[in-house]
């Protein structure tokens, strides 16, 4: 799941739950999914390490290296 997909789903759950029309069981299920999506997004945001790839002139091979 990409960050964008997770964030979009999380926004949907926040919206649904805020309307307060769910049964307790449904609400619990949504809540649990929401929290795990939050963790997923949070992890992605925290753990991201910049990657830079430079295509060589030949464009056949490419090398990868990190720039501080």
């Amino acid at each position: 799941m990409t960050f964008e997909q997770a964030l979009t789903r999380l926004e949907g759950i926040v919206d649904t739950l805020s309307k307060g029309r769910l049964s307790l069981d449904q609400a619990m299920a949504e809540f649990e999914e929401g929290i795990s999506l939050f963790r997923l997004c949070d992890e992605k945001l925290r753990s991201a390490e910049q990657r830079v790839r430079i295509l060589t002139e030949s464009e056949e091979e490419s090398k990868e290296h990190c720039i501080e």
Binding site: L45, Q50, R51, L55, E59
Partner: protein
Amino acid sequence: MLSLRQLSGENVPDNPERVFSVTEVTDTIRSLLREERSLSGIAIRGELSNYAKSAQGHCYFTLKDEKSSLSCVMFRSDAECLDLDIENGQEIVAVGDVDIYAVNSTYQLRVKDVRLEGVGKLYQKFLQLKKKLEEEGLFAEEHKRRIPEYPQRVGVVTSKKGAAFRDIVRVLGRRYPMAEIILASSVVQGSEAPPSIVSAIEALNAYDGIDVLIVGRGGGSFEDLACFNDESVARAIFDSVVPVVSAVGHETDFTIADFVSDRRAATPSAAAELVAPDVGELRSTIDTYRENLIWDLRNLVETRRRDINRLKGSLTPDIVLNTIHTNAQRLDDGFARARKLLEGLLMLRNEKLKKLGGMLRTADPLATLDRGYSIALKLPDRDVIETMRSVDVDDELVVVLRDGEVYCIVRDLKEVERRRRK
């Protein structure tokens, strides 16, 4: 050497005493100038200065080089046809006729047309290309693509060594390190630049999963930025499947690349900010979402708890007992009715109760008669008649009713089939 008289075309006898008017002399000079072909319909290069426009729309300026200057006038009818803005300092070529301004005996250039030279020439080419591409619809709003909000891969077309690339890496590293940066290094200055930029754009379009392209370089002079005013570069940007953000470091003027790109950023750093959100902001956003989730769930649980408490409050012992009593009474009633019904049935069906009189005396038998039934008995023994077979014509019967007995003689017998109710 010609005399003034000859020049003025006068065919008069030589008269050294002749006195001319100022206008006559001026007219003579004017016709001289008009006859001189090297001063009519000529193009003159020079730097434009002292530019002024009169209220009537006529333009006045001075054209100069290192040594000389030439007053120029461009009348409104000609100035209106000009498709470029002229301003002081421009190197221009003015086309027109040298003429005389009789009022203060000066000569001037009556300008019919102005062309730009040097940078001006480039600028004119720029205007032409811009007009052409605009007419083709390359800048049209309907072709502008949306820049994705959360790019996973950002393609960059610029020089590997330039400050532009360093700025983009720095800004994206700070704001949105989640995005991978793919650089297709290209030449961004000189004649090699356009094909180099075009192939870099194509290479990144061929690369998998790139969400947005940044195409640009740091600031420079108009000539330095010429590659971003190149037609092939403009078309490559237009043809790019991946949305393009232009990032030519030039705050005030726009390049053709800016017009054709999906978004324009004033600098490479600004482009990097434009293509990606800020991780810090995103984290506070999702934190807010989590708070909302917890808050909403808590609200929901509280609401349910209140609902339950309200129900519990309404379940008092009185209500329970009342319910039980009501139900018990209903049961009793039902039970009594059922028993009465059952007894009635038994009473009628019991073969052992042959003697109706005895039966009537013991079990309130008149109840049946009260409901409108009657009982037929055969005389003389008062046997209960249950079937027509126990009766013959001329037998004597007694029919017992609620309020008396009817004595009868059987006149006829007829069998009737009766459907029994279940």
